[in-house]
Symmetry: none
Subunit: 406 residues, 2 copies
């Protein structure tokens, strides 16, 4: 009988030899009895999420882990953010991430409008009333973040950002990144949208109140990261898998949503460091009862990596480990534990260093590896695989693969 599959992604877990840790990686320095147990009874190796030396984003990394070729399907972050925000997208739509920002005399004085938290829905409603000649959807997400989807067909996805990215800079004019009529049309619409967002927000009651309170007004929308929505074949059609995903990160949720997976919300689970790891693992086990495949992303290690904090990364890894007790003796399920990319504390950004990988389940060829970390797993029986191989390997182990040929 076919078994189910659990893929646990410790976001950014991979690291380099850290001087402050006597040359160990944070994963090596951490006390991880549950991960070590799983590695001991599993088969282990290294994984290049995309290919050696390529630094994956969380979006391209998860695309690869789900068996999509990011070089083929990835056309920008916007569509995944928008899908992760719960907007329903069609393949010809063009989507952008946006910020509520504070503008004064053409200069963006605060790219995040004081990390605005209150009454954003009212501002978003006002923006949604703008007339820019095409259908669009606009929605606030977390704090100053929001998403814009241009629904009209015939639009290109390759246009430059309105967001200047640097503080105290002029907001930019969108221009085509690739010369085409479609991209010109999108650039014009986006410039019009930005101007009109500023008009409608400037004297909005919410901003009048903010100014009274001495807070920076959210008086302009700054789109960036535009891209056409890719046409992804759903996991059910592509892999025969009824999938679910648990993640607190809009970008990862968006990838999984566009792959046709159910998004499962866990109370207390967030994309931050203080997430409920026990609740996430429990939720994953529940989801496995009515799904063939569950992907879980836990963001914490990536945050500590970006912040360059090895000891915080160790703490987060140990916290995740302590929640993995129920996976030690899980039956009828193949469990893979790995990351979507490395985020070395020495680099403070994603890197292309390969990730440790362990796969545990019935009858796997154990390989003598006793611990779960980069060096130990590099001596394992799986050797070095690509992220795009992982789901194939798991499906094969779980007896969910069709023979190719006779």
């Amino acid at each position: 009988m076919a078994a189910s599959i659990l893929m646990l992604i410790m976001d950014g877990v991979g690291d380099r030899a850290v001087e402050e840790l006597d040359g160990q990686t944070p994963l090596e320095a951490a006390e991880t009895p549950n991960l070590d147990h799983i590695a001991k009874f599993g088969e282990n190796g290294l994984m290049d999420t995309i290919s050696p030396g390529i630094r994956p984003g969380s979006d391209t990394g998860h695309l690869s882990l789900l068996g999509y070729d990011p070089f083929e399907v990835y056309r920008g972050r916007g569509p995944f953010e928008a899908a992760g925000a719960g907007l329903s997208l069609e393949p010809e739509d063009v989507a952008f991430r946006c910020n509520f920002a504070t503008e004064k005399d053409g200069i963006v004085v605060d790219r995040r409008a004081g990390r605005i938290k209150e009454r954003r829905d009212e501002l978003a409603e006002a923006v949604q009333e703008i007339d820019i000649g095409v259908d669009f959807q606009f929605k606030e997400t977390i704090e100053h973040r929001c998403v814009l989807v241009l629904k009209s067909g015939g639009l290109g996805g390759d246009v430059s950002d309105i967001d200047p990215h640097e503080p105290d800079s002029e907001f930019q004019e969108a221009v085509p990144l690739v010369d085409s009529e479609e991209n010109k049309r999108t650039a014009n619409i986006l410039n019009d949208f930005t101007k009109k967002s500023s008009e409608v927000l400037s004297d909005h009651p919410v901003n009048e109140e903010r100014e009274k309170e001495g807070k920076p007004p959210a008086n302009i929308i700054l789109p960036r990261g535009g891209g056409k929505v890719p046409e992804l074949k759903g996991l059910k059609e592509k892999e025969g898998l009824n999938g679910a995903a648990i993640s607190g990160i809009a970008l990862v949720r968006g990838v999984c949503a566009l792959a046709g997976m159910d998004l499962i919300d866990i109370e207390g689970a967030t994309g931050g460091i203080e997430t409920d790891t026990e609740g996430i693992v429990e939720g994953a086990l529940t989801a496995l009862k009515d799904h063939d495949f569950v992907l879980v992303n836990i963001k914490g290690p990536d945050i500590a990596g970006h912040d360059g904090r090895p000891h915080q990364k160790i703490d987060i890894i140990e916290k995740i480990d302590s929640a993995l007790e129920p996976l030690r003796d899980i039956e009828d399920t193949y469990v893979a534990i790995t990351g979507d990319h490395s985020t070395p504390v020495t680099i403070k950004d994603h890197s292309g260093d390969p990730l440790p990988l362990t796969i545990k389940g019935k009858d796997v060829r154990t390989d003598g590896v006793q611990e779960f970390h980069e060096r130990a797993c590099s001596r394992g029986g799986l050797h070095r695989i690509r992220g795009s191989n992982l789901l194939d390997i798991l499906k094969d182990l779980a007896d969910r693969t069709e023979k190719f040929g006779a």
Copy 2:
């Protein structure tokens, strides 16, 4: 001077950790002094015949081992079965595997016509006389099995099976699997062929005699597994190798025949468990005298895998091993020993688990591996390669490769 190459394929030899064998694989549990000797003086590794997690058929697996990309050239099993039956094929032909079967009132009551053994040539001759408006070849192979090749050009290869596959079912009408004029034409011809085969066989003297003897008549032909004959560049042209193959399996023989290799028959060698392994090895050594490259396929381990019998698999492996004594000190030849796919006794079917691989010959970089099995080879110096790399590696070792570049 260039050396010769022997590739020994132990069909389905790879396996998983088997509980009944205390977590060993059958290959690990078997006593294999000759294989271990070869591994000890060879270089070793793991091999994904196609790519990690992909379950190869014997046809697609051998195509990959011969350096063809099965995703590019594979279009169904029929052409390889027909080539393996000794029919001479052209690239535009469309070939099918068929069964002699027993039909009654439109229902297939026995898909194998009682595994008919006698006078099949007379039935085949009668079928060959049918007029279906195009040239065709029809030939009986083993027991109830036969092959059909439609020789006329302009025919498609993607049509559904006439064979219902299930007992006591109606025989099916062939329909195009991909909508095209060529496929429609093939479907019509195949339906006509089936009807006329039934007419000509129903009152055939062989069947009258069978009915008298209480045996099920072979009164219909059921084609299946249709496909267009791929245009394979021969091994001589592609690799500069004058090749020969020894195999008792029509499917493997067909792949090798279409690759332009000589098929060598060994008395007593079959595709079954009771094959003459000593005779096969002796035949391979003889073939190496006038061939650059000899491929040997021994089917036994795959049969035990499909039957889910770990101890039978061990016995077969030990029987093969005992025949390999002459390969211990073979000179002027690089010997590779591996499989075409795993057939774990726990799965009872092909799987994508990687295969053990050893390569022995002059000056290879030995790697400390002392035994030939999945776990031991995974610690070898070859690491993890693809089946499509193997012939390149062997040709390079044997000094039969042109430099790429200057």
